[in-house]
Subunit: 225 residues, 2 copies
Amino acid sequence: MKVLLVEDEPHVASIINKGLNENGYNISVALDGVTGLEMASKNNFDVIILDIMLPGLSGMELCKQLRIQKNNTPILFLTALGTTENIVAGLNAGGDDYLLKPFKFIELEARLNTLNRRKQMHINEEEDLQKIDTLHINFKTKLVHVDDVEIALTSTEFRLLEFFVRNKNRVISRMEILEKVWGIDFNMGTNVVDVYVNYLRKKISNNKSNKLIQTVVGMGYIFKC
Amino acid sequence: MKVLLVEDEPHVASIINKGLNENGYNISVALDGVTGLEMASKNNFDVIILDIMLPGLSGMELCKQLRIQKNNTPILFLTALGTTENIVAGLNAGGDDYLLKPFKFIELEARLNTLNRRKQMHINEEEDLQKIDTLHINFKTKLVHVDDVEIALTSTEFRLLEFFVRNKNRVISRMEILEKVWGIDFNMGTNVVDVYVNYLRKKISNNKSNKLIQTVVGMGYIFKC
DNA sequence: TGACTCCTTATGAATTTGGTAATTTATGAA
DNA sequence: TTCATAAATTACCAAATTCATAAGGAGTCA
């Protein structure tokens, strides 16, 4: 997990850095608010740990700036300012959690993981390699294997398969497939989609029952797995 | 914001309920874990506030169960158990935040808003998913489940169900259904609507009493939930 | 040319649809 | 309550729609 720590007190920064590092986190440290904002803007951190009292730009300001920039990286405020007003202000500024110093390391870790978990839940899509039973698709190399045997797909077939896989477990209308895979916006007088679905089914089916691409009569197709 | 509060102490539940209500939250209260789990499973809450010490099913267990069910509603633990071990355990069980009693109302509110804000950012599936008791309808994927079993609906049946759900708790005349679902503006000499309402009833009914689609004699039908 | 891709057309098969009519249930007056 | 009538439900079937598949033409490229 990539973590940005913005903390002006070198001693504290060092302790946190060391502690998290030992537990497999990848930490970057910024010693002031401006540097922190710059680093946060230019890189893709999983979580940002922010002290509030910082030279230059306060943690609160930094947080607001990031949110204005539509940067939604989860932010954990880690500070000694423990009044309710401070906490509420931090959360309302766009923070996601607020932990008071002094803190137990194990709690910091649990809260970081919690913030990251929520983020991870919505990624998963952009994998380069998709394995659906014995069907393996590598979007990067554009190679497709069934039962470890390479399958030759034409480019149209591959695009169709890719579209199905990226929209799996959802009924997709022929119209939508035509638009997204063929780039055709009208013309419903064609049955290319049906024909290519048929090609694909033949190519990606294996000895076992192949029911990956299912027809939903009157609605379209669904890639189910 | 729809909030589920699971708290066995009636006095505490009442205070929180009242306080949040006054601030425009829509609160449902469960007084024990089992009821809480049931309510959380059947409805779509924005946030769940969980006490940990509960009769029957502990808040921790409830949280784990929900996550197993792939229910990702943000969970805020609200409890007097303030040791670091408890906090870490709560977060690792799938909780998203942990607030200690006694707490300031304004902080609870800020934390609820923070959890909800993150959720709103990913309005992916949730918005398109309707849960009515054990009937789950996903308008995006066009999949319908009853008691977690997928139901196969024809496209006309699905359109009819969608129309009912989008107009739930309102009496709808056969004429209106014919117009909106079939696109027929005249021809009242048919009873297709009656026929399809019955197809639907059969398909979406479960072992329990199924009274979702009710007949209103002389007026039409009503989808009640 | 010949191998390959893409798309169209044509055909029969499978599924859905909407009407009819028989049966069951509900309503209201006596 | 009972009975006549209206309304709702169900079963059935033929027509219409929708699909799967095969065959073949046009275009491309080596």
